[in-house]
């Protein structure tokens, strides 16, 4: 017998799950990504590098900047271009905006209704209006950072190889410094809320992240010895899903906020680090549902770091100078931490600046096997003990903890 869950709600994109029951027991679970395939790597082949980051941004609305930045980094590494600290700080500021926008959307508008038992944040707002408003304020601030750095709230084209179309002004940076300070108390309150919840889902055995906090030269896992994705990650197609699955040394693994904290907690800003230490014991149990708590701690990190970056840039002054980029034959990989975890953009470019090979692996494709493992465990616990409605609701919550980004996941290819 197969129990088919209807399409998930309050997640990005279209996906559902099937639970296979044999002899009255849960035997298997299949996560089915039914979002249509989007063939992004085919889109970039043969294109001039200059236009590629703008197109790759269209992979996803929630994390478009992570795609633009990973794309730009892959291209710059292929050409051997290095950008100065100012450009790096501004890129980081954009990624921080994305972390805020994405985590706030997830925690306040998609997960909080589960905590308070409402179908959505709109209905929840009647009783918990303050919480919804605080979430929207954080999200709006994150989006303003994305607009400032990326050129638009969604799918901006301002991030270019070698720099930016437009640089922020002093007034804009001053406002960021001020506002990030004001919003900090909202984020701290949310950490308390998510720390108070009982864990659910599976406990992840392997965690993966980039070696720097929001991007890196390589990836790290337990042991922290840096490696390239090609050395330890394998992808394969599934017969029931438009998303592929990745495995780390043959095993399911977790990427995202929880993985970042556990692997890179020492890189956090002061208050975020204090909160991480306070809740470390819980987080180290590895329950995937603590990804929510980890995201809340990252809201604190993002706000503190946005203030720090704005201050550094204001103290030094902005030169607004791009680095010149000359195409040459080469190969490069951009590793970025999208809000949901490691994102890889890998290109080979020919001497005329056209893309000859392209490979993208998104966080949700990396988490795919772990989501299934988690669903399987939860289904085994619930089947026969609660009614089907309750089971479906709880399974959806398990999927939601991964904050899956289904649109991102449906175009994985090596060419």
């Amino acid at each position: 017998m197969i129990i088919e869950l209807r399409e998930f709600t309050r997640v990005e994109g279209n996906g559902k799950a099937e639970i296979v029951i044999e002899n009255g027991e849960v035997k298997d679970v299949r996560l089915k990504i039914v979002e249509g395939p989007r063939f992004f790597e085919l889109l970039t082949l043969g294109r001039h590098y200059y236009d590629v980051p703008d197109l790759e941004a269209r992979i996803c609305a929630i994390c478009y900047l992570a795609h633009s930045v990973a794309s730009v980094m892959g291209i710059e590494r292929a050409f051997g271009v290095e950008v100065p600290g100012e450009i790096q700080l501004l890129r980081e500021l954009g990624l921080i905006g994305e972390l805020l926008e994405s985590h706030a959307l997830h925690l306040y508008l998609l997960v909080a209704p589960d905590v308070f038992r409402y179908p959505d944040a709109i209905r929840m707002a009647t009783k918990h209006g303050e919480l919804v408003k605080e979430g929207i304020a954080l999200k709006a601030f994150g989006n303003r950072l994305r607009e400032l750095i990326g050129g638009r709230e969604i799918h901006g084209i301002n991030v270019k190889p070698g720099g930016f179309g437009r640089y922020p002004t002093t007034e804009e940076l001053e406002r960021i410094e001020r506002e990030s300070e004001v919003l900090l108390r909202f984020a701290k309150r949310t950490v308390r809320l998510f720390a108070s919840l009982e864990p659910y889902g599976e406990r992840a055995g392997h965690f993966l992240a980039t070696d720097g906090y929001l991007w890196g030269e390589r990836l790290i896992a337990e042991g922290k010895e840096p490696f390239h994705y090609t050395e330890r990650i394998e992808e394969h197609s599934l017969v029931y899903s438009f998303a592929k699955q990745s495995r780390y040394n043959g095993e399911p693994f977790l990427v995202g906020a929880l993985a970042r904290l556990l692997l890179k907690g020492e890189q956090l800003t002061p208050e975020a680090k204090r909160l991480f230490e306070e809740h470390r014991e819980k987080l180290e149990t590895g329950y995937v549902s603590y990804n929510n708590l980890a995201q809340a701690i990252e809201l604190v990190y993002a706000l503190e770091r946005a203030g720090e970056i704005a201050k550094t840039l204001l103290d030094k002054g902005i030169s607004s100078e791009n680095v010149s980029v000359e195409p040459k034959e080469g190969e490069g990989i951009g590793y970025v931490e999208a809000p949901r975890g490691v994102l890889v953009h890998h290109y080979r470019i020919d001497s005329s600046g056209k893309i000859a090979y392209s490979n993208i692996i998104t966080p949700t494709a990396m988490n795919h096997a772990m989501i299934e493992k988690s669903l399987l465990r939860e289904a085994k616990v619930l089947y026969g003990n609660v009614d089907e409605m309750e089971m479906v609701q709880r399974l959806e919550e398990t999927v939601r903890a991964f904050d899956p980004c289904i649109s991102c996941s449906v175009h994985i290819v090596k060419l």
Partner: protein, 246 residues
């Protein structure tokens, strides 16, 4: 006051941005809720009312049989259907890969074949009649807000009918095509975005599709050629968002 209008949001294959952009209206979203009741919006709510809708917003391209089914239901159950965003109105970037679907699937998923049924990405407007098309990748959320408010008041929404250049000039931005030689599709692209990309000092990428009626892609083509861009580059640029035939 009359009862609220019933609104449904339906997502086909896309990046999620057009549905998300509705939430990005922030406090204005709550203003809309004075006039609209949301019956279905899977990104934001787990309600599934399967009801009749006064207004349906449909985002994304039709890329699977599931999409087609969702679209037909949305059309059958609604009075006024808005194709929202360039995926829905023109097919957008994912519709621009000129390869038969079977080859595309093989390239991506390998030789074992993927038994899931996918179809060539096409915009919503090629499958059903729509009452209003709001392009943009993403669309300008103010334009959607205005359209929904107009409808709530019984007014037919106004459609922009001028190129991006008009808004560029009104903002007094420097012409990036003439002054910097950047590839800018502003002269032939439908305005309504407030020339947002030119604000960053970069060229319009044409995400809102061609200006209906009088538009002169041939002349744009010549300008880009005179700036040193080769034929292949220009043709690709034209085709990326809206399948322009130069």
């Amino acid at each position: 006051m009359m009862g609220k209008l019933k609104l449904g949001v339906f997502e086909l294959t896309d990046c999620g941005g057009c549905a998300l952009n509705v939430l990005f209206l922030y406090e204005k979203f709550f203003d809309l809720l004075e006039f609209y009741e949301i019956g279905e919006f899977h990104m934001a709510s787990n309600l599934h009312e399967k009801d009749h809708y006064d207004v349906a917003l449909v985002t994304g391209t039709v890329s699977t049989h599931r999409d087609l089914k969702v679209l037909r239901e949305a059309r059958n159950r609604s009075n006024y259907l808005i194709a929202l965003g360039t995926c829905a109105t023109h097919g957008n970037v994912q519709g621009s890969i000129e390869m038969p679907i079977r080859e595309k699937l093989k390239a991506v998923y390998g030789d074992e074949g993927n038994p899931m049924r996918a179809i060539d990405s096409k915009p919503v407007v090629e499958h059903v009649a729509v009452d209003l098309a709001i392009p943009g990748c993403p669309y300008n959320k103010e334009e959607l807000y205005q359209a929904l408010m107009d409808m709530a008041k019984g007014i037919d929404p106004v459609r922009p009918d001028y190129p991006v250049c008009v808004e560029c000039k009104l903002n007094e931005y420097e012409c990036v095509l003439v002054k910097k030689g950047l590839p800018c599709l502003g002269p032939i692209t439908l305005g309504g975005c407030n020339a947002i990309c030119i604000k960053s000092g970069l060229g319009c990428i044409g995400c809102r599709g061609p200006l209906p009626g009088e538009v002169n892609p041939a002349s744009e083509y010549e300008i880009l050629k005179s700036k040193g861009y080769d034929d292949e580059y220009i043709v690709r640029k034209f085709k990326t968002f809206a399948r322009w035939e130069p």
